[in-house]
Amino acid sequence: MPGEKADLVELLRQMILIREFDQLAIELRTARRIHGALHPYVGEEAVAAGVCAALRPTDRITSTHRGHGHCIAKGADINRMMAELFGRVDGYCKGKGGSMHIADFAIGMLGANGIVAGGMPIACGAALAAQLEDAGGVAACFFGDGATGEGEFHETLNIAALWKLPLIFVCENNRYGAGNAVESVRANPEISQHAAAYGMPGVPVDGNDVLAVRDATAEAVERARRGAGPTLLHCKTFRWLFHAMRDVPPPETRSADLLAAWRGRERDPIARFEDHLSAGGVVTAAEVLAIRDQVKRALAAAVDFAEASPYPDPKDLLVDMFAD
């Protein structure tokens, strides 16, 4: 079994936390205890966890509208995340951002982003900074399959390749951009093929296999750190739930068979990794239960933390606008 036991268990714990966080968020939103739009990451946990496992705390990432998983994997505090969903002053953005705009610059999480592909140039700027700092830092940008329709994706690929920037492009192909299947919006679904025209490695990855994601990322990171430039990872995964919810979760329109195929134990990134670890003797069922229990308690505490935090004072409306 490659990797230290503690690291593997931590990966499992992270994935469970990511899933439970978003499932709880859906409950809270349905109960109207939190506000705004919600984009659950359920089913895609292996991508965030696998990628961030290959990064250093000082490496920087940018995220998308579906960003809770990236935050957690990069090491964000779930109390402050939850407080942000509740619109409270102890949230990461003091309640100004909400679900779609969580950031934690202190841990190199440069922000979720409501604009499809909008975070990619920003990550490229972080990669430029890393190259200039010359201390072996890298940056990674998460983006969806739908983002490949946007020019910013392509422009960033070229510049990163041209300047050999330490940037990892992480395409989370969850098969849909909102209501549209990837085949319906792309002439060619194999996204990694864009890389060739930039002389960049384009790597298809099983995005539901957290170790495969971690290892592919590690290779890309190694390449980036030695100055050989960016890599395009095409992580193939599946969006278990709806694209987005507001007051109620929208109805499922996809076939039950399809959903079952992806949610089965062999494909579910968490169950699959759990089985893999127990088969390898790394964890016992009891340990997994304990993790789940700890996660639930941590999340309950996060809700308490959030609800104990006050709403921002309207008098502070103009605070944070401009830096001195």
């Binding site: 953005c93 100004k96 499809v116 739908g146 329709g149 792309r186 921002p312 409306l317």
Partner: protein, 323 residues
């Protein structure tokens, strides 16, 4: 008359125009099953998330004989396509000496008030108004929405249709069948004589509510809805101000270089209207911040009835009504 929602009214407008003219085609990033069923997937296209490309596609198809109706989604996403809007659509006819017409309609939703935070709560109409070359509509009722969108689709120029999200579910009387509301004609939504209040989109409703409240106190507001921002019906607004001598403009965009600023300039540069002004004009706009997520902050950032009332009282205090 039957009542339908703002969204239904807009949907009807598009479907009726597609029925009326086979050259009308629709492009959007989301599927429209009813339209697809009726008109087929040749005329009803759903597109990749490539706003710059499909904004230009609409323009090119318009210059080639079609009448595309292009939906950007939220106005937020139009900024990805801003080259095609600013450098192409708004200039293409004039720059080429009027050789061809470009009957393309761009639609999008606007506005805050739904806890969708900074990026998804924008009302940047004035950025489009500033571009000489685009017509701009901004309806506030289901009736106007249907009638204006039809006029937009029939217009032979690029027209941008801003559709306020907070109005989507609002219902109101809409006749069955065909009618249009002409571009460039404001409507006095309530007649009055003490203060002219120009409201935009959602804030027409809020202003009408304030007018009803203040009527009880004997204060008479004239509420005007420009409905079209380009061409702007300055004369209807000026005529009202010449009678009331007082002007408040209400909108949820930040004040700086807004439609509200423009309305003030149109009023104060007109000699007769300027002479009739009794009190300083007032803008009731969003605070100069990206719209924040947290409900109390968002409420503080956006205009509301109490802020409108306060502005009305300010102009009345500054020049009290003669009894």
């Amino acid at each position: 008359m039957r009542e339908i929602s703002f969204t239904q009214a807009l949907d009807e407008a598009l479907a009726e125009e597609m029925r009326r003219d086979a050259r009308v085609i629709a492009l959007a990033t989301t599927r429209a099953p009813a339209l697809e069923k009726e008109f087929g997937d040749k005329r009803v296209r759903f597109t990749p998330i490539s706003e710059a490309a499909f904004t230009g596609i609409g323009l090119g198809a318009a210059g080639s004989g079609f009448r595309p109706v292009v939906h950007w989604g939220m106005v937020t996403f139009s900024f990805v396509a801003m080259d095609q809007i600013v450098n192409q659509a708004s200039k293409i006819r004039y720059m080429f000496g009027g050789q061809a017409d470009f009957p393309v309609t761009y639609r999008c939703t606007t506005g805050g008030g739904a806890q969708t935070a900074a990026q998804h709560s924008q009302s940047p109409y004035s950025m489009f108004m500033h571009l000489a070359g685009l017509k701009v509509i901004l309806p506030s009722t289901p009736f106007d929405a249907k009638g204006l969108l039809k006029s937009a689709i029939r217009d032979n120029n690029p027209v941008v249709s801003f559709e306020c999200s907070r109005l989507a579910a609002v219902t109101g009387p809409v006749p069955e069948g065909d009618y249009t509301v002409p571009l460039g004609v404001a409507e006095v939504k309530r007649a009055g004589h003490d203060v002219t209040v120009v409201g935009l989109a959602y804030y027409v409703r809020e202003t009408l509510a304030v007018a009803a409240d203040l009527a009880a106190e004997g204060i008479s507001l004239e509420v005007i809805d420009p409905r079209t921002l380009v061409p702007m019906d300055a004369e209807t607004i000026r005529a009202s101000v010449r009678r009331t001598g007082r002007l408040v403009v209400v909108d949820e965009a930040p004040a700086t270089c807004s439609a509200a600023s423009e309305i003030i300039a149109l009023v104060t540069e007109d000699p007769d209207t300027f002479q009739a002004l009794k009190a300083p004009v007032q803008r009731v706009c969003a605070a100069p911040v990206p719209v924040p997520f947290s409900p109390p902050l968002e409420r503080a950032a956006l205009p509301d009835q109490s802020k409108i009332k306060a502005a009305v009282r300010r102009v009345l205090e500054s020049a009290p009504v003669a009894v």
